[in-house]
Symmetry: C2
Subunit: 302 residues, 2 copies
């Protein structure tokens, strides 16, 4: 056991050193933000840094790891479902207030494999309306590098998203290589059912409290991980409690807030992030400005 | 990334080979059960075996990794709380039917660090009434070896317990070295509270559905991990759905049921496992008989 751990550690330290020479974050512009991230990861990885077991990083998904404009991807999935299945029992449920809940309820009664199949089918055919690319290509290249850099330095990288946990598990695995067990999201009740054909988990119509947004994020981070993160990355007011929770860690910690201020390459808006941007300045959280910190935004924008 | 993974793999294969020479399960008697386990793990670990990402093993806790007689350890914790805090608001709640719920409700209003402190304090002072040892020493040596053997072969080992997730997280870490993020248990609602002194998670009085027992186990395995295990280890009827779920995995899978039949070294009972013992025979699950398969039960019984 001990031998195993030591070899793994050496191995990663070696790669980390190599990465430094070759720049671990080539799609980030040189500047304060990039320096701050690299300095933090290097300090964490020192022998007197943060123990490997405590290197927990949490990332919001929509708006942090892919665009949330003109709508977040799970909503597009819902609209696609309603268009292709006009008799869906969920159609009557869709109105402004219940739009978020509708995205969960529309699939009530589906088994786990049926739902996963439907999500995968959507992701292979759907395209982002502006960029005309599948959502699986709508990843921020600098964030891909950041996730990889953290993993190479023995961080456990988790997603913490308000969207359906089952939806994000598939998307996050296809895009950022994050495995299902490292995804926290809003979950729906399921029942375990046994039939002569076998066993199945079946989606019900009730959401598990708390929804994984706002104060629900730290509550669920505690429920799923049982540790306070040392790093959190978000982009909106819904991420504030996750950032506050992370900054309460008595160990060194880093909070990042992605500001969408790049109308040319992505979008430019403060809406839904007004409070977070103020709190970031008050609490010394690092604001990533897409316009200035991202050398490249998407892999396809070379 | 690739280099890192390859080196880690080589490293573990090497240790696995060494372990084979030196016997990975020295506290197990030679016999069909031990052979079946070793054969399974060796097959899983072959290059055409089961991909590392899918090597998920789930273990029940009470009765599977430590004795559940004369009472499960969280219940002893509750009784200790009621004895030392006779004015506890939870006293009136304790009756036969509500005993399980009382073990959660007695700590309503406590912050996360306060509760963890209380559990740790209990674990350093409480003793098992028969063996006169702290619960942290009440581990089955053969199970310690099995968990270690699985980890060396790149399994992710999870606990899936009906007891309080926060209680088991501490105990499982101290005894089997299982980290908090690999523990699934029954969870209580918490709120995220901000005060001038900082942020806190505070225990509320409502249990999260489903309780992590019976059909709740596969539901929560799906919720927390998002993968079907390839190996499950239990000891009672409450573990049946977890074993059924695991045996539904289209990949190779192994189900183990620990039978307490050793009155001399531990306990001898079928109670609460009657149905599981029948289903084990019907479904080709492997019954571990403590009396015959365990060469040694506890580390202190040399």
């Amino acid at each position: 056991m001990t031998i195993s751990c030591l070899l793994i550690l050496d191995n990663n330290l070696e790669i980390s050193a190599k990465e430094r020479i070759f720049d671990p974050l080539p799609s980030w512009n040189d500047g304060k933000t990039k320096q701050k991230i690299i300095k933090f990861v290097e300090n964490v990885s020192k022998s007197d840094g943060i123990p490997i077991k405590d290197r927990i990083a949490v990332f919001d998904y929509d708006g942090t790891l892919l665009p949330e404009k003109p709508m977040y991807v799970q909503l597009d999935f819902l609209l696609e479902t309603l268009l292709t299945e006009p008799n869906s029992s969920s159609k009557g449920l869709v109105d402004g207030e219940n739009l978020i809940k509708s995205g969960f309820l529309a699939y009530t009664g589906m088994t786990q494999p049926e739902y996963e199949e439907k999500v995968k089918e959507f992701l292979t055919t759907a395209q982002h309306p502006r960029f005309k690319k599948p959502y699986t290509e709508l990843i921020y290249q600098p964030m891909v590098e950041l996730v990889k850099y953290l993993k190479l330095n023995d961080f456990q990288v988790y997603i913490c998203s308000g969207s359906d946990i089952d939806f994000v598990r598939i998307l996050a695995n296809l895009t950022y290589g994050i495995p299902p067990e490292n995804v926290i999201g809003t979950a729906i009740e399921k029942t375990f059912e046994i039939s002569p054909q076998g066993v199945n988990l079946v989606r019900q119509s009730k959401l598990i409290e708390p929804l994984n947004d706002k104060a629900g994020k730290p509550v669920n981070i505690n429920r799923y991980i049982g540790k306070i993160p040392v790093m959190a990355v978000g982009n909106s007011d819904g991420d504030i409690p996750m950032l506050q929770y992370t900054s309460s860690n008595p160990q060194a910690n880093l909070e990042l807030l992605l500001h969408h201020d790049d109308i040319q390459r992505e979008y430019d808006y403060n809406q839904g992030a007004e409070k977070a941007l103020i709190l970031a300045k008050e609490n010394n959280w690092t604001i990533i400005t897409m316009k200035e910190d991202f050398k490249q935004v998407f892999p396809f924008q070379n």
